[in-house]
Amino acid sequence: MSWREQWHKLRQLRKWERLMATRSIKSRTVWVLLRIVAPLAVFAFVTLASVTTMLGLAGAPAALQAGLIALAAFAAGAFLLYVDIMVVFNQLSAQPYEILLAAPFSGRFVLMARLAAAVRSVFLYAALGLPLAIAYGIIQRAPVWYYPLAVVALILTVATLLALATLIVLAVLCSGRHRITRESLAFVSTGIAIAVVVVPRLIELGPVAQQVQSDLLGPAFAWIPMVMGARAIIAGGLGQGGAAAMPIVLLAATCALATWMAMFLADRFLHDRIGRVQEGGVAKRGSGRVRTSQGRSGSLLLRPFSPAIRAMVRKDWTRLRRVPSELLGFAFSVVYFWVILMHPDPGQTGALTGTTLPWLVVLVIFSSNRLTLSSFGIEREQVVLLLSAPVSSSEILQAKWLYTLGPSLLWTELVVAVFDVIGRTPLDASLWTALLTAWIVAGATLLSLPFAISGAAFVPRRAAQRAIYVKPGSSLSLLALAPYLALQGALMAFSMAPLVGGGGFFATFLVTGRLWHVALGVGASLLVAALAGSIGWSTGSEAWRHRSLMMLQSGSLE
C-alpha cells in the first residue's frame, strides 16, 4: 500500500474513533465539562500561578528569571515525558490492535494509527507553557519575533518528548525475547521516566550551585530536550537571535531522529512483538485452604464499615497487589517532588517551588483518579454480582472510595512525614499538618468518584471508551466541580509551599506568629473538603446507580 493510501486509511480510522467517542458520551453538559470547562480551569490555574510568579520577579536579576523558566520547563517536561510514556504504552497495548495487525498495514502505520488519538491531548500541554513564556517576554521587553519563536520552541519540545516516549516504549517492547506482560512494560517505562528526572540531579551532585542558571542551564543538562526549549526561550527573550536558533535546530534534529528511529523499530518489530504483550499479574501459590478474614490488611481504616464494604475493599486491594503498576503514578510523583525540592532556591522566596507545585498537584489528582477509575473498571459486568447481593449502591461507592483512600493516604502522609523530618518541623505542627493532609486527601479522593463513574477523569485514552450516563441534572452539579479543581490546587500549593520553605504550614505560624495563616488554612480546607465530599457523594451515587441501571435496561450487559 502506498504512503498516500495508508494516510487516507488513517484519517478514516480517526473518523470512526471520533464517532465512537461522541456516541459514548450521553450528556452534552458532561461533554462540555470534560472537554472545555475542566481543561480551561486547569489552564487558568496554571496561568495564574506561573504568570504571577514571573511578574513578581520583574525586578529580580535576569539569572533568576532565566532559572525560573529553566526549572519550569524541566519540571513540566519531566512530567510530560512520564505522561507520554504512559499514553504511548496504553495506546500500543490497547486491545483491538489485532484488527490493525491482521489488515495489510505496515508497522509504522499501526504506530501512527495508535498515536493519532494521543497527539492532540499531548499538545494541549504546550498551551500550558505559553503564559509563562509570554510573561517572560513582557518583563524582558522582548522583540516581536520572540513570541512566534516561543510557540515554535514549545511545540517542538512537546513533539520531541512524544517522539522520545514512543521510542522508549518501542525499544522496551522490541528488546528481549521473552513474553512481556503489561505490568513489566509499565514498570520499565516508568523506571526510565524516573531515571530521566533523577540522572541530571545526580550529575549535578557535586557542590550544588548557588546560582540557578549554572544549575539547569549548565552543559550537563544541554542534552535534555526541555532544557533545549528553555534555552531557546531565554535567549529569545533577551533578543539574542543566534543563540535562540541553535537550540531550536538541535530540538528539531532530535525530534526527527527519534521519530525516524521509532518508525524504523515499528516497521521491523511491531507486528512481531506487540502480540507478546500479555495481561500481567501472577498469583503466588496459596496455602491450599480458603483462608479466613482474620488479620487482613487495612483493618484499622475499614473497621467502622459494614462487612460487605470491607469485603469489596479487600477484594480490590488483593487485585491491586497483582497489578502494582497502577501505583506507579505515586512512585513517580515522590521522585519528582524530591527532585524539585532539592533544587536550590537562591532567594528563599518560594517562587520556584510555587511555579512547579501546581504540577505536583495535578500529578496527585492524576494518580488517585487513575486508581478510582480502574476500580470502577473492574466492575463492568460484575456489577450484576454485587447488585444481586444484599449490597446497596451507596455501599459499593463507599467501598470504591476507601479503596482509593487507603493507598493515597498512605503515600501522602509518608511524603509529608519525610518532609517534616527534613524540615525539622516541631511535633505538634507535624501532627496538625498530618491531619490537614488527611482531610485534603479524603476530599480529593471523594472528588474522583463522580469523575471515575462518568468515566472520563483525566486519562485521555479511557475518556473515549467508557460510556457516560449521567443525567443532565446531575451533570450540572458536576460543573460546580471545575472551580473546585482550581481551588484544590491553590490550597495545596498554599499549604505545601511554606512547608517546603520553612518546615510546615504551622511552623510558619509558630515563627511568624500570624494566627490568620492557620485560621485561613484550616477554614479553607474544611470548606473545600466538605464541598468536595458532598458533591462527590451525591453525583457519584446518582451516576453510579444510573449507569448500572442503564447497562441492564439497554441490554449492554448482554
Partner: protein, 245 residues
C-alpha cells in the same frame, strides 16, 4: 418459597415477559425451558431484583423483592448465563470474597473446600481466574454462590461450557441441595437434563409461560406419551399446538 406474581417486563413498548406467574415450593427443582429469546433471562433477572418489573411482584419466602430487597437478596443465589468472576483473584480468594460479601461465618469455607474437590478444582484454586476455562469459571462462580447458603438458587443456563463430568457433578450437587430444602430454578436448553432432574418444568415462549407442570401432567394435558423433547417441540411449535392460547 418463591412466588412470581404476574410479572410483566416491557422494553420499548414490546413485552419481553407477559404476565408470568408461578410458585415454587421449598426443596423443589424447577426446569425453566424455552427457545432463545423466549424471555427466560429477563424473568430470572426480575426474580433476582436486577430488573424492576413493569408490573407484578416477586416474593422470596416472606420477603417482597420490591419492598425489602436486602432481605430477599440475602436468601437468593444467582448464577448468570455468563460467569461473573474477578479475573485477577484466585479461585479461593474469590470464594472468600463471596463469603465475606454476605458476612458468613468461616465454617462455610469448609463446605466450599468440599465443592472444590467435587468439581476437581482443587489444583486450580490458587491460580488466577484469568487462566480458567469457561467451564471452570462457571464452576467457581457456582461455588461462590453457594457460600452464603441461599434458600433459593436461580441458575441461568448453567450447563453451557461444562464438560459431561462437570454437568454430572452439577446435577449431583443440585440434587443434594434440594434434599436440604433449597429451592432451585434452572433454565436450560438441554432437555435430557431437565427431564432427568426436574420435579416440574415451565415452558416459556415469546414472553408467555405456555406450559407448567410435572412431565406426567404435561403428557396428560397434551395427550402424548412422548419424552420432554418431543413435548417441547410440540408445545413451542404453533403448527402442532391444539387450540390453547
Amino acid at each position: 418459597m418463591l412466588v412470581a406474581q404476574s410479572l410483566v417486563k416491557t422494553f420499548n413498548g414490546t413485552h419481553a415477559v407477559d404476565h408470568v406467574s408461578f410458585t415454587l415450593k421449598e426443596g423443589e427443582l424447577f426446569g425453566f425451558l424455552g427457545p432463545n429469546g423466549a424471555g427466560k433471562t429477563t424473568t430470572i433477572r426480575m426474580l433476582t431484583g436486577l430488573l424492576t418489573p413493569t408490573s407484578g411482584e416477586v416474593w422470596i419466602g416472606p420477603h417482597s423483592m420490591q419492598k425489602s430487597p436486602k432481605e430477599a437478596k440475602r436468601r437468593l443465589g444467582y448464577l448468570p448465563d455468563k460467569p461473573l468472576v474477578y479475573e485477577k483473584l484466585t479461585g479461593r480468594e474469590y470464594i472468600r470474597f463471596m463469603a465475606e460479601l454476605y458476612d458468613m461465618p468461616d465454617d462455610v469455607l469448609e463446605q466450599a473446600e468440599r465443592h472444590l474437590e467435587e468439581f476437581e478444582l482443587k489444583d486450580a484454586a490458587d491460580q488466577m481466574i484469568s487462566g480458567y476455562s469457561h467451564g471452570m469459571k462457571q464452576k467457581i462462580a457456582l461455588i461462590g454462590q453457594l457460600t452464603h447458603r441461599p434458600e433459593v438458587l436461580l441458575l441461568d443456563e448453567p450447563t453451557v461450557g461444562l464438560d459431561p463430568k462437570g454437568a454430572r457433578t452439577l446435577r449431583d450437587i443440585l440434587r443434594g441441595l434440594c434434599s436440604q430444602g433449597v429451592t432451585i430454578l434452572i433454565s436450560t436448553h438441554l432437555l435430557p437434563i431437565a427431564e432427568m432432574l426436574c420435579d416440574r418444568v415451565g415452558i416459556m415462549e415469546k414472553g408467555h409461560l405456555i406450559a407448567l407442570g410435572t412431565l406426567a401432567e404435561l403428557q396428560a394435558e397434551y395427550s402424548t406419551s412422548a419424552g420432554l423433547e418431543d413435548l417441547f417441540l410440540q408445545v413451542t411449535d404453533p403448527g402442532q399446538r391444539g387450540g390453547e392460547a
